[in-house]
């Protein structure tokens, strides 16, 4: 297990994120880096995971080549069932998905995610539209737990998101239950700077790991609320040469990993 001398940030994020997936779990995979993470988890410690996409693919094996989108033909070739979005999203609503794995543009301390846009929606001239929810809202409402991967700076890690597209714990403890959500809410966030978990009592996101080259202070400076830090905070392990070798075969054109 030789630690690698050179690796990209996207590679570190992917490898770290994959460790949140346990073998045998049903994982609903969103568009973006989650597609790379899923392929990597399949190829390493989670060969028995079940991959679902909103494009409608259900797979017991990794795509033979990286799917760039959730309904890329590559997501379907050699799949186990391709019933469609109706079937995979219905599995979410039936409570059969262990991990909902999403990206986003902005997150707040209760893990609410914004992928609709920044600014004040009611003042149309000031609102910068992104793509919108896609399936992220459905995934995070009903998945047993939610794994999110997104870039970090003080405009993206905010006290309150400009627009709640995808519910985390809304305004704190009890909110999800009150609203009748069947899923357990966010469990882990991997950013471009570190790894976050959620306090089981307060439901607030706290720093659990910082990436090599980062520090708690730097991360706090790139977070707009008074971020709590685990007393056991550690530096994230550097990827090994063996891990990188597997990962680099997954995205040969560098579409996601750069």
């Amino acid at each position: 297990m030789t630690a690698a001398a050179n690796y990209k940030l996207t590679e570190l994020m992917t490898i770290r994120c994959a460790k949140e997936i346990e073998d045998g779990e049903v994982v609903f995979v969103g568009v973006g880096l989650p597609l790379v993470v899923a392929a990597y988890a399949f190829a390493t410690h989670a060969p028995n995971m079940i991959m679902l996409t909103e494009g409608g693919a259900i797979r017991a094996t990794p795509p033979e080549a990286l799917a760039i989108t959730v309904d890329d033909p590559a997501a379907f070739t050699g799949g186990d069932a391709t019933f469609g979005m109706l079937a995979t999203m219905a599995a979410l609503q039936r409570g059969e998905v262990d991990v909902a794995f999403i990206g986003g543009a902005q997150i707040d301390k209760f893990g609410n995610i914004n992928s609709t846009g920044v600014g004040d929606w009611s003042k149309k001239e000031s609102f910068t539209y992104f793509a919108g929810s896609g399936g992220a809202n459905d995934m995070a409402t009903s998945g047993k737990r939610v794994l999110a991967i997104l870039p970090q700076d003080a405009k993206k890690f905010v006290e309150k998101v400009d627009y709640i597209t995808t519910p985390g714990f809304i305004d704190g403890p009890g909110a999800r239950k009150r609203l009748g959500m069947i899923g357990g809410g966010p469990s882990c966030v991997v950013s471009t700077m570190g790894v976050y978990l959620f306090d089981i009592i307060t439901k607030e996101m706290y720093l659990s790991e910082y990436f090599p080259g980062q520090s708690v202070d730097k991360i706090k400076a790139n977070c707009a609320w008074d971020l709590k830090v685990s007393p056991n905070v550690i530096e994230t392990a550097v990827p090994t040469e063996a891990e990188l070798k597997v990962l680099r075969g997954i995205d040969p054109t560098g579409f996601y990993l750069g």
């Binding site: 989108t69 890329d72 379907f76 999203m89 609102f127 399936g135 519910p167």
Partner: protein, 344 residues
């Protein structure tokens, strides 16, 4: 009944899409009805409302940029290859576009309700978000009459007319689509009140359709117009025929990005082309036949595919080392922009 519904792209759009219509916009991240998108722009249709779950490669973005669409109900609109819906962003900022956001399954469920002819349907998502606050046109919370618990419901969506692209269709209008079931065309199209306009890679005989009717997602009686249109989803993918044209989507996206540039793209690639065949000829003259050949899947990849369908293998490695598409206008604009930024 043997009613031949074949017609040109131009006639189909002129005859069946009217200003002010609600249009189901087919496809998802693939199978986007791009030839129909271009024709709607060419014919300067106005005040359209679109419904769909999610849509990629900037098809809806350029339709908004060209001034055809004033209201959108959707979960996700993007040109993923430039990571933004630029024209939509600008139109919303100027107050030219009403946007009603909903989750992907919310949109799908709304179209299923329309497909089933019922007024609304319950859903688990969207509650607790700003989507439900800002989109009471589509989303409400009611009391479940059986349990008394609060339940989120979506209004049924029914288009006036649906536009979709498929692999095959027969002259009667039986639409054959396979291999990418994330696309919600069966709900959006069948739910359309007047019917469906379909472009397809191939026209087959009805006798061929009837050997495998499992593949039909829209039966002939829902179809208004049948248009033979190879490459009709380009630059999105049509499984078994061509993969995503990532480089062209990026190229188009760089035009979408700047308000001053987009009209040049529309002039060159839409208004400047009489039809979709002319668009493809233009592509070949600018980026070469090799650009199209790269998109073709390896056929025969799955040994003895069932039901005679050859899905092909769309190998993403075809993009390795392929340089970005550009042209002189785009280069000059982007260099001037960079110089301006550098000068500040």
């Amino acid at each position: 009944m043997d009613l031949d519904k074949r017609m040109t792209l131009k006639d189909a759009v002129a005859k069946f899409i009217h200003d002010g219509d609600t249009v189901y916009y087919g496809g998802f991240q693939i199978m986007v009805p791009m030839a129909l998108t271009h024709e709607i722009i060419r014919q300067k249709k106005r005040h359209l409302t679109t419904i769909e779950s999610s849509t990629d490669v900037g098809g809806l973005d350029i339709m908004v940029g060209a001034g055809c669409v004033t209201e959108i109900h959707s979960a996700w609109i993007m040109n993923w290859y430039v990571k933004a819906p630029y024209a939509i962003r600008r139109a919303f900022n100027k107050g030219h576009l009403k946007r009603y956001d909903i989750s992907n399954f919310g949109a799908t469920t709304a179209m299923m309700a329309g497909f089933m002819g019922v007024p609304f349907m319950p859903i688990l998502g969207n509650i607790g978000t700003d989507m439900i606050k800002n989109n009471i046109m589509d989303l409400r919370i009611i009391e479940d009459p059986f349990t008394g618990r609060q339940t989120t419901v979506v209004r049924a969506w029914r288009a006036d007319v649906a536009i979709i692209h498929a692999q095959k269709v027969d002259r009667l209008g039986n639409v054959i689509s396979y291999g990418t079931r994330g696309v919600t065309d069966e709900f959006g199209a069948n739910g359309a009140k007047r019917g469906v306009i379909v472009t397809a890679e191939e026209i087959v005989e009805p006798e061929v359709t009837r050997t495998d009717p499992d593949r039909v997602i829209v039966p002939y009686f829902k179809t208004l117009a049948v248009v033979h249109c190879p490459w009709g989803a380009h630059p999105s993918a049509c499984r078994g025929y061509y993969g995503l044209d990532i480089r062209f989507s990026q190229y188009q996206g760089r035009y979408e990005r700047h308000e001053e540039l987009l009209p040049h793209f529309l002039d060159e690639w839409v208004y400047g082309c009489a039809d979709h065949a002319a668009y493809i000829e233009k592509y070949k003259s600018k980026f070469g036949q090799a650009g199209l050949d790269r998109l073709k899947p390896k056929l025969g990849y799955t040994p003895s595919p069932k039901l005679g369908v050859d899905y092909g293998y769309h190998d993403p490695a075809c993009w390795k080392g392929v340089p970005m598409y550009t042209d002189d206008r785009l280069k000059a604009f982007e260099e001037a922009l960079a110089a301006k930024k550098g000068g500040k």
